[in-house]
């Protein structure tokens, strides 16, 4: 399935809903969208991976890039993910210790923005 990207605002958070496959071919589009959001002033970004059915190292690299950028800008970055196959990818790469991971958007938005530095 092709990559889909949709943005909405929840309070002070910008939620980017990602669907489909994030891989070496589609990840540049995800990177572009995240850069647009951050350059456009978004400081508290939540990426909802709920409808992602494939995520590879290139996609993970893009997410880490956004985390670093927002941290430098004094913002926050969190992920929403409750699918076991994706969670396993985060565990194996140790990125579960880098990203704040939440099971729902509500949980991510309700968490302290400083969680991005965890």
């Amino acid at each position: 399935m092709e990559l889909s990207l949709a943005t909405r605002t929840v309070g002070e958070h910008t939620v980017l809903e990602v669907g489909g496959e994030v891989d070496v071919y589609t990840a540049p589009r995800l990177r572009e969208r995240l850069l647009e959001l951050i350059d456009g002033g978004a400081r508290h970004v939540v990426v909802d991976l709920g409808r992602v059915d494939f995520l590879d190292s290139t996609g993970l690299g893009v997410l880490v890039g956004a985390l670093k950028r927002l941290r430098t800008a004094g913002g926050s970055f969190a992920l929403v993910c409750d699918k076991e196959p994706l969670l396993k990818i985060f565990r194996i790469t140790a990125l579960d210790q880098v990203f704040p991971l939440h099971p729902t958007v509500d949980a991510a938005v309700g968490a302290e923005p400083s969680g991005a530095n965890a």
Partner: protein, 144 residues
Amino acid sequence: MATVRLSFSPAPVHVRTARLVGVAVARRAGVREDLLDEVRLAIGEACTRAVALHRQYGLPDPVLVEMSDGGSYAVRVVDRAPIEASIGLAALPPDELANESLTDEALTTGVGFALLAGFVEDLQVRPVDEGVGTEVRMVWPVGR
């Protein structure tokens, strides 16, 4: 033993095709259904690595993927890049992953290898037998 060979121009758009073919052949070979996600991810990572190397070295040569099912399901992904086969095999510790000084390329390479090593129990990365290049060899059991 049945063999399926796929070679593709080193462009990111074709990596998905390689994943789809790799999983289709795995299913046909009798790889357990619950392993297919891992097969898909691992073949994708190996092909992504090969495409990145070919682009890095400006090599137009195709990337070769060979799948065979002789008692187990074996996949070879062969690139033609002039590098030491073991480079990049070390997994990155968490405190380095988000380090500012780590480049995106280094991060993606490190994470890619972590995924390969984490998802494939029987994994070898070695120089090809003839000529220049690296072969990533992955084997999964078939459970009929």
